[in-house]
């Protein structure tokens, strides 16, 4: 897949955090997401959206992120926290 622009990557990470696939970045340390967590989050989002689980922000995935949708997260915080624990 063509390499992503920084902006596309930022948009993708923001989208994944917003809809519960990624925990919000640590407000204190500003700790960014690890690559492994990002890949896992992308796969979960692709699975939920019925896409091939490639783990990368390919065109189909970026396209799905642009679709109009409900603003509620797909993974609830509680569930996410459970998973993190």
């Amino acid at each position: 897949a063509p390499s992503l622009t920084t902006e596309q990557l930022d948009t993708g990470v923001d989208w994944l955090s917003r809809f519960g696939y990624l925990p919000p970045p640590d407000p204190v340390t500003g700790q960014l997401q690890t690559k492994e967590a990002l890949t896992k989050a992308i796969k979960a989002m692709q699975k939920f959206g019925g896409l091939k689980e490639t783990g990368v922000l390919d065109q189909a995935t970026l396209g799905l992120m642009k679709l109009p949708r409900c603003s509620l997260p797909d993974v609830s915080q509680a569930e996410g926290a459970k998973r993190r624990r």
Partner: protein, 428 residues
């Protein structure tokens, strides 16, 4: 917060449209209110919930058309992107509130390209407002992504996936069951947790008023003709079929009588005749009226091919003419004449495809049309074909459902009168 709070404890919920789309040229206020009414009705039609519109600001479900940051911590993002959200049930002030992004072009009965179908989005958001979360199921209205218009609000039928999930939250709105009025103890004693489990021995499904009843013990479930469970929770047989003795712990067989379509129940040496779901005067009567053996019956069904009523018991079957009210001569005959069928059936039925179906334990056999030989490829699992169970569920070990009286040697099927797993119902 948006973490799902289970569900509303109360059954009567008020709603109000507090603010309307600014660009009301597209949608008048009355149209918006009507669409909200019908979107809520989608959920109240199938659950014990009731929604009523109020004017005051203390409505349970406050509906707003707003944009960008609107002080609830979940700002909208202009045209496209996020289009709406709703708060889950609970005690918080915002619980149930539903917000639509006023930067969207909200439409009604317009092609997809013209904007966002308000009814479709409202059904989704009210799903959240009563406790449903997003799902990835392709057909569900609760998928997070906008799927375009869903057609006429007056004809909209919720996907089955969503019905089952909301029934698991609130149970079914059923004309028979007495919805729990707030504050009033339920009239209907809650059945023990007898949700249909996929390893139950259901012994027959028969068509009743275009639905199908399956029974185990003194409970029964209803399937639509599309084989969808109307409810995961059973109703009690004697509470629906008025006039059966309340101490009846199971039914042996049931069929719908050709001609007058009355329903005949068999238990032991007695039978009852019902008109609709009310027993007729003078019943029960002895099954010797039919000239049947004095051990009772295992199964009964009316064969589409000759409109004769067949009774099965152990290894024999009888043919009865319900129009002449007389047993045909030369019976009983050996049930091996029905090639491929096991002895000691649990029950039998005819189906809208013109075939006859025979049930025993977890399996069933199909005999097409006027044949008397089982079709190749049978038996098959009831749970998979009739209850839409997945592979895992349909052959799961039935330890959890095996009650003591059914814990019997697997090699021979117990006489169903012992294990309480009788399933019989009616044809139509």
């Amino acid at each position: 917060s948006l973490t799902p709070q289970n569900k509303w404890n109360k059954r009567h919920l008020s709603w109000r449209v507090k603010t309307y789309p600014k660009d009301s040229a597209l949608l008048g206020r009355d149209t918006v209110r009507a669409l909200m009414y019908y979107a809520l009705k989608v959920w109240s039609d199938i659950t014990p919930l009731n929604f009523h519109e109020v004017a005051g600001s203390d409505a349970d479900i406050q509906i707003d058309f707003t944009k960008a940051d609107h002080n609830d911590g979940y700002p909208f993002d202009g045209p496209g992107g996020t289009v709406a959200h709703a708060f889950f049930p609970g005690e918080r002030f915002t619980a149930g509130d539903t917000h639509f992004d006023d930067d969207e072009a909200w439409t009604f009965r317009s092609p997809d390209s013209h904007g966002m179908d308000l009814f479709a989005v409202a059904v989704h958001e009210f799903g959240h407002a009563i406790g449903l979360v997003h799902t990835s199921a392709m057909e569900s209205i609760m998928r997070p992504y906008y799927q375009g218009p869903v057609g006429d609000p007056l004809k909209y039928d919720l996907p089955y996936e969503d019905k089952v999930r909301v029934w698991q939250l609130y149970g079914v709105r059923d004309s028979v069951s007495h919805t729990n009025q707030p504050g009033r103890p339920s009239q209907t004693p809650e059945p023990p947790n007898k949700n249909v489990t996929y390893s139950n021995h259901f012994n027959c499904f028969k068509v009743l008023f275009c639905g199908v009843l399956l029974r185990t013990g003194k409970y029964f479930w209803r399937l639509t003709r599309e084989k969808h469970l109307v409810s995961l929770r059973p109703a009690q047989i004697h509470r629906f079929w008025r006039g059966l003795p309340t101490n009846l712990d199971s039914i042996d067989a049931v069929y719908e009588r050709p001609g007058d379509h009355k329903i005949v129940f068999f238990k032991g040496l007695k039978y009852w005749v019902f008109k609709d779901n009310i027993v007729e005067e003078g019943y029960p009567r002895p099954i010797s009226d039919f000239g049947l053996p004095t051990e009772g019956v295992d199964a009964a069904f009316v064969w589409l091919h000759n409109d004769k009523t067949y009774f099965f018991k152990d290894k024999h079957f009888w043919r009865y003419d319900d129009h002449l009210r007389r047993m045909d001569l030369g019976y009983p005959k050996e049930s091996i004449l029905w090639k491929g069928l096991p002895a000691q059936l649990d029950d039998a039925m005819r189906w809208s495809d013109g075939s006859s179906y025979f049930f025993k334990g977890k399996e069933y056999w199909r005999v097409p049309g006027s044949d008397m030989e089982v079709e190749a490829g049978y038996p098959r699992l009831i749970a998979k074909d009739w209850l839409r169970c997945t592979e895992m569920q349909s052959d799961s070990p039935d330890s959890e459902t095996k009650s003591t009286e059914t814990r019997v040697n697997e090699h021979h099927h117990p006489d169903h009168a012992e294990n309480g797993f009788e399933v019989c119902s009616c044809t139509s």
